[in-house]
């Protein structure tokens, strides 16, 4: 399968990428690892007029501590996040979830910023960053703004990224020793979650239980009020309207949300 024709420009800096976003028009797309965008282009689900390659920009790569947060460059591949000693010690759920994306070859190319910008509600990293209470740094010609994960995912494959904005970094709180749990129900290796659940302390996020990754707020509140993990998990599917597909109908997804949430809560050390 061959993508439709497009213009390709390798950005030399984030400032250059912003200029290109401006000059190439609103049909231009940013390309990092390309492991969500290129498959969509090959299937002709996407046909951008131009690709602005930010995948090799050193300023968008790497992991550092910034006070009580970890800052992960948007173009940092999943394999680097998964194997980072800093991430493994200070945000172990993030390292674990990065290691669950696809397969090794995919993790060598796919990037954390790309995964969040793609905003697949069934994907690993949007759910993980939401569970962690993370945020994204968005750069535009007006400067940088920070958007918390709770506000970033706005619809099915939609985010609060504006035209002319790019994700430069992902931030998650540093919490060494934090209790966490992670569950992803799939039928085959490499599949997206039919339903996923991630728990960090008292926060719970769900994958594929709606158009965006969701917080299980009723379960969180019950937990805060002293409910046991099993009791709280019974509320995990409350107020959700998951889609139905060949893998699962709505009731089965709600059942999975309750079971996976209980398991994720029980995993917290």
């Amino acid at each position: 399968m061959i993508p439709a024709p497009f213009e390709y420009v390798a950005a030399q800096s984030t400032a250059h990428a912003l200029d290109l976003l401006d000059s190439l028009g609103d049909e231009a797309k940013l390309l990092a690892g390309g492991h969500s965008l290129l498959p969509m282009m090959k299937l002709r689900l996407a046909a951008p007029s131009a690709l602005i390659d930010i995948g090799q920009l050193a300023e968008l790569r790497g992991i550092r501590a910034d006070g009580d947060e970890l800052v992960i460059g948007a173009a940092t591949p999943h394999a680097v996040v998964a194997s980072s000693e800093l991430v493994r010690s200070d945000a172990p759920l993030l390292a674990h979830s990065a290691a669950q994306v696809g397969d090794p070859q995919i993790r060598h190319r796919g990037t954390i910023g790309g995964s969040l910008a793609h905003a697949d509600p069934a994907a690993d990293l949007p759910m993980a960053v939401l569970a962690l209470g993370g945020s994204v740094d968005l750069l535009s010609r007006n400067g940088t703004r920070n958007v918390v994960a709770d506000d970033f995912f706005t619809g099915f494959f939609e985010t609060s990224l504006d035209e002319g904005e790019l994700i430069v970094a992902v931030r998650v709180p540093r919490r060494p020793g934090q209790g966490w749990g992670y569950e992803k129900f799939v039928r085959r290796a490499n599949d997206w979650a039919i339903v996923g659940a991630a728990a960090v302390d008292g926060r719970i996020a769900l994958a594929n239980m709606g158009p965006v990754p969701l917080r299980a707020r009723a379960a969180e509140q019950a937990l805060a009020e002293g409910a046991s993990p099993a009791e709280a998990a019974e509320l995990a599917a409350q107020d959700t309207e998951p889609s139905e597909d060949v893998h699962a109908d709505r009731d089965y997804r709600r059942h999975l949300a309750r079971v996976l949430t209980r398991r994720a809560l029980e995993q917290r050390g």
């Binding site: 213009e7 390709y8 498959p39 995948g55 060598h108």
Partner: protein
């Protein structure tokens, strides 16, 4: 547009359309037919090659400076600009098989052979990151490569034999 990259140790400079996939570049422009197009959807791994450069995502040093495994059906040739790409053709030194190739032959880690170049390249990448994997780590490490013939047992044996032979720690000249 013009791309300049190194393929199996040879510098190349070619004019390509931006939409040309790396696997098609390797097969049709370079004439290297080891990387196969299987599923064409980033699943099967038959197109796996090694890439090394600024955007390398792996953690291994790579055997012989090879780089990390990628699925070349989901990389644009233009994204490989300035990088080093290694295909299965680039592994053997003359008539001497690379230790991973030798182990696949010794352990009969193939039947029809279609997945084999991708399996071998994924194995070289895996062993460069983890020179002495457990059997479970081998199976997980090859999660991105499908074989529809063997049931994987001999492939796993071949990878373990290659590790035993030091394939992951060897540094080629």
């Amino acid at each position: 547009m013009r791309v300049e990259l190194t393929v199996n140790g040879q510098r190349r400079s070619d004019d390509v359309e931006p939409r040309l996939l790396l696997v098609h570049y390797l097969r049709e422009v370079c004439g290297l037919r080891a990387a196969n197009v299987g599923c064409d959807t980033t699943s099967c791994g038959a197109c796996t090659v090694l890439m090394k450069g600024a955007d390398e995502g792996g953690t291994g040093k790579g055997v012989g400076g090879g780089g990390t495994s990628v699925k070349s059906c989901t990389v644009l040739a233009v994204q490989a600009n300035g990088q080093e790409v290694t295909t299965a053709e680039g592994l053997a030194a003359g008539d001497d098989l690379h230790p991973v190739q030798a182990a696949f032959r010794q352990e009969h880690g193939l039947q029809c052979g279609f997945c084999t170049p991708g399996m071998v390249m994924a194995t070289v990448g895996l062993l460069s990151e983890n020179p002495h994997p457990t059997e479970a780590e081998v199976r997980e490490g090859l999660e991105g490569n499908f074989c529809r013939c063997t049931g994987y047992h001999n492939i796993v044996r071949a990878v373990l034999a290659a590790a035993e032979a030091g394939a992951g720690t060897e540094v080629d000249a």
